[in-house]
């Protein structure tokens, strides 16, 4: 999945209005569409609401009262901070690795045609097409087989594996829309390969690269399915959260962490979206 806005355009880049004034949507379609959209957002509202509830025993609705108390409690918990720090470090490193590997792949795959191309595409999407549990258990068997101590580095390795394709998808989509004549024009005017990359290709793919990196960060920060297999004794924030679900002692703190996780993943996603959009509008 990537953040590629697909505004329908005609050949000249003018937006085509697909709405047809003559054919109005039936009531069913309209109600279903908006109900579906609302359905998508229901959990967000619930999470935000429950972070402020005074009720610390049940999931009762409506909440008996609202308070900011649980934020104080959560902020004082060192185990949460430790998990948060680990998750941020993992996400940062996995993002860096996948940016490098993903953009190298995109640069190789965007222009040239070669026989192995389809197999490489297949290899890239495999970590997304196969269920996370397969990736997780496969990495675990490899870790055990190679007698590596699972920990920070194994988490990063696992995350990088499926983040590469996120960056790749974003960057390759942008590079494919880059007219070959721009690169030819640059070389024609005396720029060698490095200069052409520095002055033409990099500025053109920068926003896509950043957007892909943001999404990779969000995905890594939040990942649980693979991480549970590769983490060993380390506890990332999602693992902390997951364990908390089965020990409902501090239910209100869990609610607060849920909001925090949501916000931390939301920011890079929003940034990625606005980056993609502004780049699309400029071109």
């Amino acid at each position: 999945m990537r953040f590629e806005r697909r505004p329908s355009t005609d050949g000249n880049g003018q937006p085509v209005r697909s709405s047809n004034a003559a054919a109005r949507p039936s009531l069913f379609i309209r109600v279903a569409a908006f109900a579906g959209l609302a359905f998508m957002h229901l959990p967000v509202l619930v999470i935000v609401l429950y972070a402020f509830t005074t009720d610390d025993r049940t999931y009762a609705f409506p909440p008996p009262g609202l308070t900011l108390h649980w934020f104080d409690v959560a902020f004082a918990r060192s185990d949460i901070w430790a998990a948060m720090r680990l998750s941020l470090r993992v996400a940062a490193l996995a993002t860096l690795c996948s940016i490098i590997l993903g953009s190298l792949t995109a640069l190789a795959m965007s222009r040239s045609r070669f026989r192995a191309k389809e197999s490489i595409t297949f290899l890239l999407i495999l970590p997304l097409a196969l269920p996370g549990i397969v990736t997780g258990i496969a990495l675990l068997t490899a870790i055990k087989f190679a007698s590596i101590d699972p920990g920070f580095w194994t988490i990063v390795a696992g995350h990088t594996t499926f983040c590469i394709v996120i960056v790749y998808n974003n960057v390759v989509a942008r590079l494919r829309r880059l007219p070959p004549s721009w690169i030819e024009a640059s070389m024609d005017l005396g720029a060698d390969g490095w200069q052409t990359f520095r002055y033409i290709v990099l500025p053109q793919m920068a926003t896509a690269l950043l957007a892909g990196g943001m999404l990779a960060f969000a995905l890594s920060f939040d990942e649980i399915i693979v991480t549970l297999f590769t983490a060993g004794h380390e506890r990332t924030l999602p693992i902390w959260f997951f364990n908390e679900l089965f020990r409902p002692r501090d239910r209100p703190v869990t609610n607060v962490v849920a909001v925090v996780v949501m916000v931390v993943t939301f920011i890079p996603i929003l940034l990625a979206y606005s980056l993609t959009r502004s780049a699309d509008e400029r071109n």
Partner: protein, 349 residues
């Protein structure tokens, strides 16, 4: 004169298609040279081979008598005006024009000064701070021209540079390009599928078909003495007459060539009963279509032997107005007959 560009038996294939097939060619320094042909004839590939975007499969390319076959584009003293202009959207007009200097590490002040000079040359210095998407098609075209000229190349390559412009602008740009070339004295190599454009601008024209040069000549030479049926048809749309009809009309006496071409404007339409002079070729047929073109009308005539010929006649009031289904006679002077090479003529139909 010295040779600016030379092709020595250059061949370039894409898969099984021979895009350029053993081309031999010399372009003189300071020449306005056109490569003319239908799409897929190999003319654009030739241009890309000169620029260095493609490498030939065999043969050699020389610029100023130096082999450049193995050099990348940035080591060749040629610059290109692209069909889609290829202006960099993330740079201003000025930055676009200065790009060739920037990658050569020319000082910033010098970049600015010379870029503005080039923009003045194409009368766009006022547009320097704009972005390419804020310009009209004609303006973009001129920016791309200024950008390509800033490195003072030995050769300027133009790939269908006027294709995207409307008719009026195209005519203006034709004159402007021609003037610019005369003033700068740079060799221009110009790719086009528009025979009118090639005829009116070029000093010499190479007509391409299926990866080969069919004929290389001056515009007048091409128009008045086409070598092959392809050139006769492609440049000016002449009638090609061959086979039995050619034998009969030539009478076996004055012409050995079994194929020749006649231009539509050299064919006289007349009543069938009119007897003819001895010094002309004559045949008869029925008008199947009339196209009005203002100054002249073009008549499609189906001969009794089946061939279709086109005659053009000025649309004056004295002229009888021939209609569809009228029976007419066609005649032309033997001076108007352009003999064609037999082999090429027969394989083109």
């Amino acid at each position: 004169m010295t040779t600016a560009i030379e092709f020595r038996d250059v061949t370039k294939c894409y898969g099984n298609v021979r895009a350029v097939d053993g081309v031999r060619l010399q372009i003189e320094a300071g020449e306005f040279f056109a490569m003319l042909g239908p799409s897929g004839s190999g003319k654009t590939t030739c241009l890309r081979l000169i620029a260095g975007f493609e490498a030939p499969d065999s043969g050699q390319i020389l610029l100023d008598d130096n082999a450049v076959t193995a050099l990348p584009p940035y080591e060749r003293d040629v610059n290109t005006v692209f069909q889609d202009y290829a202006l960099f959207p993330h740079m201003t007009v000025l930055e676009n024009v200065a790009y060739g200097l920037r990658v050569r590490k020319v000082s910033r002040a010098e970049q600015q000064r010379r870029a503005l000079e080039m923009l003045a040359l194409v009368k766009l210095d006022a547009m320097a701070p704009r972005r390419p998407h804020q310009l009209s098609g004609g303006q973009r075209q001129r920016v791309s021209l200024a950008r390509a000229l800033i490195n003072q190349p030995r050769v300027l390559l133009l790939d269908e540079p006027l294709g995207a412009l409307d008719l009026k602008l195209r005519e203006e740009m034709q004159i402007e390009l021609k003037n610019l070339q005369r003033r700068l004295g740079i060799t221009f190599v110009f790719v086009t599928h528009d025979q009118g454009e090639a005829l009116s601008m070029a000093d010499r024209i190479a007509v391409f078909d299926r990866g080969r040069i069919e004929q290389l000549d001056t515009p007048r030479g091409l128009y008045t003495r086409p070598n092959t049926a392809f050139v006769a048809k492609f440049v000016g749309g002449a009638n090609v007459i061959e086979g039995a009809l050619a034998q009969r009309l030539a009478g076996g006496a004055s012409h050995d060539a079994p194929a020749f071409a006649v231009r539509a404007e050299n064919i006289l339409l007349g009543d069938v009963r009119n007897s003819a002079a001895t010094d002309v070729m004559r045949c008869e047929g029925t008008i199947v279509d009339v196209q009005y073109h203002g100054a002249a009308s073009r008549y499609q005539v189906r001969l009794s032997s089946g061939e279709l010929l086109t005659a053009a006649a000025p649309d004056s009031i004295h002229q009888a107005h021939w209609r569809v289904d009228s029976a007419v006679s066609l005649s032309w002077s033997r001076d108007a007959v352009m003999p064609l090479q037999a082999a090429a003529a027969s394989n083109s139909t």
